[in-house]
Symmetry: C2
Subunit: 472 residues, 2 copies
């Protein structure tokens, strides 16, 4: 057994120890999921930019395919085609507000990932945990294909494919495939597949569960097998274009991009695509015949194909738009899959499409402006059951239930929380930049070069990377 | 003036201070030699291999295009498309024999390059200076296109294009274009262009000088201008093939290579090329319609085109073979330019072609086996004047002179010194590997991956690289 195999065994053991009360063995889910050969040959990337805090260290990890935008440390982790983004880390001296406290930060926030296996998992920084505001930690965690760990310390957990933990501290949990959790701190939870859970203790609780078997055609994950279904096939059929981009050291941007916008050099852009002012296109986005209006952002792992975005649109991490028209300020949440099959799917202005929503229809669907939309929709009839006008939701004070959703608490605070977050995302990404004020990622991420880091190609450490410290 | 421009100014000043007694100003030779844009966009490479001592550190240098095979440190240097090879560095605990001493080494040998401008200069490690056996230092030195600094500490010097200092400690010297110096320690020398000088104090002294103007068509270097001539044009016309190779992160080897041979992933290989057992092809070699027999080695920056190498042939750094046939064990020295213009140039077995030899003939030339050959040869007649049978040279005890060469001292010790070195080169490169014993670079350099390092793309440090430490 070489060092890389030993490393994987150790991680599996650590996670199993954490999950022992569920009697959950991650072994059959993980073993054979990635070929040793891939881990040995795919290369990683680390930012070189004066805009980002550089401090990259790792010891005998495997970093295959990882993309680190700023500060990081990993010790004995496997990060396969992950994206550990450190470009929003909190700075020393600022005040962090959380849980009613105003916490002055005594040092720059860092990331630390230890004994973890992250498989094509997006990890975005900025700890929302008031107990560790300067440290974004992931340890003893296994996370699988296209999961998102967003703004949250995570410890001893297992995340299924296309699962998301968002603004959440997760300890010793199992998060099922295509589940979305934004629920503050959770410990010892086993979340079923296809659960969409947004909770703000004391304010509201939003809980949707996909109907039995509805998810099976899209995503299923069984012991001893690779994840399967439409989501996986869809991504696989577009991967060739990414291979080309990752095989070259530098790259010419294939289209005209305004000075105030940025197009990551690891994004795929196919004709006829247009990009307006203040647009941010992140790495591993896939744009084909896409029109991105002013201030829109296309986040990591999203696909925008044959679609028009009018402006100030958020297409969040892993969201997919095919044959879709978005009005102004439409928000499409994490990992949503919106497809107008040979017909148009039209979404009116100010709509909020909840994370992990599937709209997949052969007939045209038109969603009225100002709607909140969730769950599984294949027809106008489903839409009725899985949406509510934001105006109506605002008026709800104690809760409502329709179809597969249960909502408790205050509708107005739910709508406000979402709208504030959308505004924050647009603002942080530079959507409102006026030439002077409002700079964000779109204006700051334009001139980044990347170090390309590679593992040992032979010997006992084959597939592991030498220790490297990068400092300004 | 940004940090990169300041850095270049500082280096120029330091070198001028060292060379003040010659009243030699390097400014007009250096300014404008490399465009700022190239320094900002070309990327560097650093080895990841368990076979090499990793310790790469640098602070605010520009490393554009450099290729570091093993241990290194640079502080405030510009290394443009250089090759600082650290794969023969001496190890702690070994005994280094030099100048009649047997010196036990107390630490691993390191490389240190400070305040230097190296422009497409090959630097090969292994200090031959008994005063600093553990340190290979280059500082306050400007070295220009396709110069070679080989096995020697170098301080406060200027090297013209295609110049070579070999096994030589050079302090405060100016080495003219296409000059070769292998002379022990030299201080405060100004070596004219086209000087080939091999000295072993007390044993022999070989001194050749190119006839006036003979070199002009091949290489000329005038203040305020880029180097010009046949050498430069020849390289420029082949550069496109290198661009393709350096633009990709990894690369498939285009031809079949035996298990005991190695072909660097940065070498150009065009049809119909064949590589036999125990062959070593180094980075930035160019092979086209070349047949490399058993145990041959093609060193950095060499070109082998339409040529057959029978076996155990050394084509040293920067040597060029076009339409040439080499018999067994023919050695072709540094930067030699051997061209059979539409006819064959045939070189018999065991010949030694001295470094910096030009053989350029429209008529066929056949060199008898066992000859020593030097200088400028365009015809059979020139060959008579610029060669001697090794057997005859062996019998010389006090010296001889013919044409432009003066030889003093003992011919046998000269021949022995060269033959020993050739055997050492073949041995170190793995030419004699028998499947068990005799492993060398050909067997060790097969599975190397490279980190690709890039500079800041914006800001005050544009064109400089962040500090990076790489350790096993």
């Amino acid at each position: 057994m070489n060092a890389l195999e030993k490393l994987l065994q150790r991680i599996i053991q650590r996670v199993n120890i954490n999950l022992r009360e569920f009697d959950f063995d991650v072994t059959p889910f993980i073993e054979g999921l990635v070929s040793q050969k891939e881990l040995e040959t795919v290369h990683g990337f680390y930012t070189v930019s004066p805009q980002h805090t550089l401090d990259f260290r790792f010891s005998h990890s495997n970093l295959a395919g990882s993309y680190f935008l700023g500060k990081c440390r990993t010790t004995n982790a496997i990060l396969f085609k992950s994206d550990i983004r450190g470009d929003e880390l909190k700075k020393k001296g600022t005040i962090f507000k959380a849980a009613g406290f105003a916490i002055p930060l005594t040092k720059n926030e860092g990331i630390r990932i230890e004994d973890s296996f992250l498989m094509k998992t997006l990890v975005h920084n900025y700890s929302h945990d008031p107990e560790s505001p300067e440290r974004f930690t992931i340890s003893n965690t296994v996370s699988t294909h296209y999961a998102n760990i967003h703004g949250s310390p995570t410890d001893g957990s297992f995340l299924g494919p296309f699962a998301t933990v968002d603004l959440t501290t997760v300890n010793d949990c199992v998060i099922g495939a295509y589940s979305y959790v934004q629920a503050g701190e959770i410990n010892h939870f086993h979340i079923d597949c296809g659960t969409v859970w947004v909770r703000s203790p004391g304010n509201f609780n939003f809980l949707y569960r996909y109907p039995d078997n509805a998810l099976r055609p899209y995503i299923r994950f069984e012991p001893g097998r690779q994840p399967q279904g439409e989501f996986v096939d869809f991504i696989a059929s577009h991967n060739k274009e990414f291979d080309k981009i990752f095989a070259t050291v530098n790259r010419k941007i294939p289209i005209q991009v305004p000075d105030t916008a940025s197009l990551d050099r690891f994004a795929v852009v196919l004709p006829e695509t247009t990009i307006a002012e203040n647009v941010l296109v992140s790495q591993r986005s896939f744009l084909q015949n896409a029109s991105l209006g002013k201030g829109s952002n296309a986040q990591e792992n999203c696909f925008i194909i044959n679609s028009n975005l009018e402006g100030y649109n958020v297409t969040a991490h892993g969201a997919k738009l095919i044959d879709v028209d978005l009005g102004l300020k439409v928000f499409v949440g994490f990992n949503s899959f919106l497809r107008g099959q040979n017909s148009r799917l039209q979404i009116g202005k100010d709509c909020i499409i909840m994370p992990h929503t599937i709209i997949d229809s052969a007939a045209p669907i038109r969603i009225p402006p100002g709607s909140l939309v969730w769950g599984y929709i294949t027809s106008e009839q489903d839409l009725q059951e899985n949406s509510i006008p934001l105006e109506d939701l605002r008026k709800i004070t104690s809760g409502f239930s329709q179809g597969h959703i249960v909502f408790e608490g205050n509708g107005n605070s739910f709508v406000k929380a979402f709208q504030n977050r959308i505004m924050h995302i647009l603002d942080a990404n530079g959507a409102f930049f006026d030439g002077k004020k409002g700079k964000g990622h779109a204006q700051r991420n334009q001139n980044i070069s990347f170090n390309i880091v590679q593992p040992y190609a032979e010997g006992k450490k084959k597939g592991l990377y030498p220790t490297m410290v990068i400092k300004p």
